[in-house]
Symmetry: C2
Subunit: 695 residues, 2 copies
């Protein structure tokens, strides 16, 4: 990037403004501060000026291209190095960690290596308007230029001099609008997470995952918030605090660092084939707690007591915040699920159209949620989960591959971009506030908060769980509480106040530490905790989970499995047939009185497919005590791994071991593909007289 910018030879700076009253047009507060020119030779310069302006615009465009090129080359470098690492089977450094390192290096070079003089394209206009306008029209010697608000520099006037004089132009250039992360980079990451969540082990552990994600995140947020408040109070006493830091700020910090992102750990888990239950717990928790953390943080920001003293406790405001949390979360959830369901594509014959539609629907979920005031990221997450569950089954085979690959690629690029930007920003961000006490306090708080999330909850969950979450699993989950993209995006979103700047700097350090140290030590931790690796997930449920630790079977049918079974049956019998082409036809599952309705709602393909019924989701059936009954066969898969199959229609003579293998197949891919359970059926239309038909 040896680009040198032309120094603009603009005005020699003699614009002398004179007074002019501001006009108030209708209800619009257009404040026209006309600073009319004194110099007379403006008309004849017009042509020259045009050329200069054009050249400058071109220069600026070139510069932008060069800046973006830096990031692309960074990503390219990361990819090449990662390839080398994968090739040599180095596992101590994940691609995201590497991207951060490269980002750091480039940041150092930009900060200390390149000293570009600031060009004179910045003009300071001081104008009294009570509210900052979104757009400003500037009358430059007869031409009108429209300017849009980019950012607020600082609230304290004396800082602007630093900014406008000493600021390295290059640094300013490589700084992105923080909203870019939220509106462009984060959505594909989150959607991909949701879209690849469709796994048997996730649903098997759904109760625990929900508990960790919701309860755990809230607990962690409040504990970290309280601890940080203690730290901040201490700092105030010692005299280390140079600005305001309220309790809500502490809570906000708690919320943002509660979003875990164990992408590094999961990559290693996947590669080493760690026990799938642990994988599912970690993955599910991290996906959902991102959503919780986003909504939680925005609720905390919304906590604004109305009274005189604006930072005291107030019940009403708290209630409002709590209501907002529920409202935003459920709104985003509903919206995501709704759009996921609406994407009821029948374009199977035209893969390109199908893929394009799928992509657009996912994106419009995000935009719709944002336009409605909900949280787009959360909506996209649930949209992804819903689409994986229903829409995916409607897609043609080719589109299934296409969409998966597309979002995989987008996820990969966005993730590495964010992490390399993270490295970069450690040196290029201009308002870092590194306070050793705060940093130490934060590390401690994060550690304690994670512990307070995992251990007590695991204990409580184990009371209800048949398959206990073992202590080595708990230690591993504790260890794998990395902070990543979401934490960073939340922290960089607002760095206006002193408190936020300190939080941002500290957050960066936490991310670096956890990604490098915890991420890098995953393999060591795995072997230290004696967690089995190389588990073929085809066999794990009969071997690792069931055979090793279920002496007390059958008696404790715990609640969540029961609740889940009800949902599963409803989903399988009614939702699936309505929303997808797979599943049993509604005519078979609805009571006879609803016959005509059922015939309308069932798609023709469902009848066609009836002979060879495909159901992608039968693999998420719990292993304990669910009777899989369809047609005239019944497969009783109980917890001890003993399968009893009854019925006459078992045409192909498939053994129960085969069935078991079928049940669990396809699970060792991160993104699952296709049909796992094919029930051979006899040709007769299933009738409701068969008692097995009702689940």
């Amino acid at each position: 990037f040896g680009q040198k910018r032309n120094h603009c030879r603009g005005a020699s700076g003699a614009g002398s403004p004179h007074r002019l009253p501001c006009a108030r047009v209708a209800s619009l507060s257009v404040c026209a501060c006309v600073c009319r020119a004194a110099s007379p030779q403006e008309e004849e310069d017009s042509a020259m000026e045009n050329i200069v302006t054009e050249k400058k615009a071109e220069e600026s465009h070139r510069q932008d291209s060069a800046d973006l090129l830096i990031f692309i080359l960074l990503l390219t470098l990361t990819i090449l190095t990662i390839w080398l690492f994968k090739h040599r089977r180095f596992r101590f450094l994940h691609e995201t960690g590497l991207a951060m390192i490269y980002g750091l290096l480039v940041g150092v070079v930009l900060r200390y290596g390149i000293h570009m003089p600031r060009d004179g394209t910045s003009v300071m206009l001081n104008c009294h308007v009570n509210a900052s306008p979104a757009t400003v029209l500037v009358n430059v010697s007869g031409k009108f230029y429209e300017y849009t608000l980019k950012r607020v520099l600082s609230s304290s006037g004396n800082k602007v001099d630093d900014v406008s004089d000493n600021e390295n132009e290059m640094l300013r250039k490589v700084t992105f609008d923080p909203e870019v992360f939220f509106n462009i980079l984060l959505p594909p990451i989150i959607f991909h997470a949701g879209y690849s969540l469709k796994r048997r082990h996730f649903f098997r552990n759904m109760g625990s995952i929900l508990a960790y994600a919701f309860l755990g995140t809230v607990v962690s947020c409040f504990i970290i918030g309280l601890l940080m408040y203690g730290t901040v109070t201490l700092m105030k006493h010692v005299g280390q605090l140079h600005g305001e830091f309220f309790f809500t700020d502490c809570l906000f910090f708690g919320a943002i660092v509660s979003a875990t992102d164990p992408v590094t750990v999961l990559a290693i888990f996947h590669e080493l084939q760690v026990e799938p239950d642990l994988y599912a717990l970690l993955f599910g928790e991290s996906v959902l707690n991102d959503a919780v953390a986003v909504v939680l943080s925005s609720s905390i920001v919304a906590y604004q007591p109305t009274g005189d003293n604006s930072h005291t406790f107030e019940g009403m405001a708290l209630l409002k915040s709590f209501g907002m949390f529920l409202g935003i979360f459920s709104g985003s959830f509903a919206l995501g699920v709704a759009t996921g369901i609406v994407t009821f594509t029948k374009l199977r014959d035209f893969q390109l159209l199908e893929t394009a539609l799928f992509f657009l629907m996912s994106w419009s979920t995000f935009l719709l949620a944002e336009a409605c005031g909900f949280t787009g990221v959360v909506a996209v997450l649930f949209c992804g989960i819903t689409q994986a569950h229903y829409t995916y089954n409607n897609l043609s085979r080719e589109s299934q591959d296409r969409t998966k690959q597309l979002f995989e690629l987008l996820n990969f690029l966005a993730e590495n971009f964010i992490f390399s930007y993270m490295g970069l920003t450690l040196f290029t961000f201009r308002n870092h506030v590194f306070n050793p006490m705060f940093i130490v306090g934060a590390f401690l708080a994060v550690f304690i908060g994670r512990a307070a999330n995992i251990y007590p909850l695991s204990f409580l969950l184990n009371l209800g769980r048949r398959h206990k979450i073992r202590s080595n699993f708990q230690h591993m989950m504790m260890f794998a509480g990395l902070r990543g993209a979401m934490t960073f995006a939340l922290a960089i979103r607002d760095t206006a106040t002193y408190a936020r700047q300190m939080m941002f700097s500290t957050t960066l350090l936490i991310v670096f530490f956890t990604v490098w140290i915890c991420g890098g030590g995953t393999t060591q931790m795995l072997s230290c905790q004696r967690i089995r690796v190389g588990v073929d997930s085809d066999q794990d449920n009969s071997v690792s989970v069931i055979a090793t630790e279920v002496p007390e079977r059958s008696s404790t049918k715990h609640e969540s499995a029961w609740l889940f079974r009800i949902w599963y049956n409803f989903d399988h019998n009614y939702l699936k047939p309505i929303l997808t082409h797979s599943g049993p036809p509604l005519t078979a599952t609805l009571p006879p009185c609803c016959g005509p309705l059922a015939r309308i709602l069932t798609s023709p393909q469902a009848f066609e497919n009836e002979g060879q019924l495909k159901d992608d989701d039968s693999d998420l059936i719990l292993t304990d005590d669910i009777n899989l009954a369809y047609g005239d066969i019944t497969v009783n898969t109980d917890g001890s791994g003993v399968h009893t199959s009854s019925g006459a229609g078992f045409a192909s003579g498939m053994s129960s071991e085969d069935l078991d293998r079928e049940l669990t197949c396809g699970d060792n891919e991160v993104v699952m593909r296709g049909t796992c359970l094919v029930f051979p059926m006899d040709d007769s239309e299933p009738t409701l007289k068969d008692p097995h038909m009702r689940f």
Copy 2:
């Protein structure tokens, strides 16, 4: 989009500026026009203000989301309707035409249906600076806001009132920065065109395509330019011209409407399987003339005589423009080819990394070209062609599919977005200048320009061509001269002057007319011109081209085929082995003295693959008189369709008909896949003693 924007309750507009001298800091022309406040109560409003600002930013973000949502819903609607059309086999309207119609409808609604009062977020600051600054710092009651230059509204001061008062806020919102088209939407379209250009028939007609694209575009540009100059002169006499319109403007208009985009026609050709030679001619021409038109137009803009009267003819400036054309074109070409070649990926085992790298390299080509001052679009085109030719062979099978599908999707989305925006902009663009005389003149000029491109060139080409371009082909090419995305993007790029505005409005009408009328009439035109459809391209070269119209064979071995053969041999023997894993190993093709060098440059895979030599490009071998010799077999494929195979190593006993089919297979997909010619070989290492080895 029933979104209502909150009316901002900002200042009541009493900011009274006072005089302050502008400071000149070092070489920087920072002009600080401080308009200090008179009102006293600013400090206490600070907190309230913050909240208002935050709310406004949120509102604005919501509004942006809603606006983008309009476009996404438009695209979704287009996709659904197109699916219906495809399903019912309607061919009179292509998706791009449909996208335009929907865009038009939404444009009408936005223009006449929604009357939103303008909110007060716009402030007019009049300030005398000679050059427009890129960023403006505005001091709003102690806080500093940074504003960036968005656009130049107009050069005539009296127009601003219209803009700032009567302008519909919604219309302003849905107006994109024209550079978005050039920097975001056009690159994937052009890259996709280049990437899917790798077809046998393209290379067979390369000479003609190059002639049409280069010579033809320049001829068309100048003829249209001259005719428009005549029209403009006439308009001036009649008194219809209300602004300046120079000869360079006319030439510019000629350049932008010379870029043809027969995407509609080609889609129908593909569906109906029109004769592949016609397809190749049209496709190749349209892809390359986009590149020519871009560079041509920027060269014309660069034509700026230095003298007093800035719009007269000047030899020096013309020469400079011509030099620029050559410089930019060859620079972009070289850059594109270079990056295409550099993407020498060996990451075959990690498809995701491979695809990501491929994507990033293509993108960085664009950015690099822009940063160097070349034309990114042109670089991307040649990068695409090069990557299809070399890199594609190095990719793993899965990555080949992935990259193709990815760029296909991007192309589809970008194209339909541009066309729907085109429809929208007919009603939402605010500075339309529709001049009936100019429009009639332009339509005539475009028609004559296209005719002057196709017919004379075809005549000249036919003198040299063995397979004549028949008159019905010529008529079809004439008819298929649609204008599309590139023309639009070039026209909207600069709409500052009266001349450019008139051009833009006229261009829009030309695009609408050609896409709807010419695009819609393609099937009628095909049957009217008696062009054969349903040609199985496996057989066409033996049936349609050769058997029907080559009575005078073998005598006229024309130049271009000979030149092409030299290039082909060089490419096949040296470039391919160095740059890809396919092709014969260099040890076999280089003279023995270069043995060690050859061994270094040849990739291990090439040796491995030697046994089953794959070469994707053997299908681009001319049918006339090329001796395909490798190993110890010689296949003489001559123009009359009689194939003689000699040699002993023809192990599998493949008949010449089989070979012919192999040679031409895979060509009826738009995007080709994979290996077409597999030469069975004996196991012995080919030695240079074999005389057949040297081509």
